[in-house]
């Protein structure tokens, strides 16, 4: 049981989530090998990865059912971590562009 006394997902839900995760992984690998997808490869893979990430966090880590404070404890640093990644990429590639003029 979670902190608020709500039940976690059922075994059937866990199995369905696992099946979805495996299917998304197969799609990711498939997309990687199909030349037609090369132009949109990065956004497609990032979206698929985000879906897998969310499914595991919401159902296997029970954030969907647990107290919202746990979501805050996890989501805050996660957003900060994402901001660090995006900021560093902008700083680094922006600097390179200024230096090379390209």
């Amino acid at each position: 049981m979670s902190e608020q006394g709500q039940a976690h997902a059922t075994t059937g839900t866990y199995l369905r989530i696992a099946a979805i995760l495996v299917m998304i992984t197969l799609i990711e690998v498939g997309v990687f090998y199909v030349p037609a997808f090369q132009a949109v490869l990065v956004p497609v893979l990032l979206v698929l990865s985000a879906v897998k990430f969310t499914l595991v966090v919401m159902f296997y880590m029970h954030l969907k059912f647990d107290n919202k404070f746990f979501a805050f404890l996890f989501g805050g640093p996660l957003l900060l971590g994402l901001a660090v990644v995006v900021s560093l990429l902008f700083i680094f590639y922006g600097t390179v562009r200024l230096r090379t003029g390209s």
Binding site: L21, L46, Y60, M61, L78
Partner: protein, 197 residues
């Protein structure tokens, strides 16, 4: 029962939440920043290596896809272990805890083989920027998996000795939080390092 005594010592915060679980979510939050910085470093130096081997020459997607599948299945085994312990089915609980640990060991074996193969191909920690950032990122993740496997096996031994039951399911739940976090980090690494080359 030993686990009943143990359960009685659990502390709750003024919000009515288990203090260990709250502390563990805060720890996982801090881990997001650790892996965020390692992934940033990998991305910033991506494509900046002056000498090979380069990622597209050396990364084995089919093999790593299997490792990803293995880790996803270990997450499934972990939730099944938790569900079994919560309903007091310790036979199933012990089985799924062991399966989770074994799947973690398979992942680690795969990573050991991958690293050995890369070293054989000439990619060391100091060979180029790709080698440095790749080994530090995936090695840190592997260290987390190793800790997780040791933790799971410890729980399994406790369960075998009858010291784990529904009363301390929170211990299994916290172990699960750690294990699933290791899984979600790999989901990101698989995409960022292996698929987006």
């Amino acid at each position: 029962m030993a686990h009943d005594t143990h359960a009685a010592t659990h502390h709750h915060t003024s919000m009515g939440l288990d203090s260990r679980k709250m502390a563990f979510w805060a720890f996982i939050g801090s881990e997001c920043l650790l892996f965020g910085s390692l992934i940033s470093t990998y991305l910033v130096y991506k494509g900046r290596s002056l000498v090979g081997p380069y990622p597209h020459e050396i990364l084995n997607i089919p093999f790593t896809s299997f490792s990803t599948f293995d880790l996803l299945m270990s997450s499934l085994a972990m939730v099944l272990a938790l569900a079994a312990v919560q309903r007091g089915d310790m036979k199933q609980g012990k089985l799924w805890l062991l399966v989770t640990a074994l799947l973690g060991l398979v992942f680690l074996g795969g990573q050991f083989w991958e690293f050995s193969h890369f070293v054989h191909e000439g990619l060391g920690l100091t060979t180029n920027l790709f080698g440095s950032t790749f080994y530090v990122l995936t090695g840190t993740h592997g260290a987390h998996v190793t800790i997780g496997v040791i933790w799971l096996l410890t729980l399994w031994v406790q369960a075998l000795r009858g010291k784990l039951g529904p009363a301390n399911a929170m211990t299994v739940e916290i172990t699960g939080l750690y294990w699933h976090f290791v899984d979600v980090v790999w989901i990101v690494i698989f995409t960022v390092v292996y698929l987006i080359q």
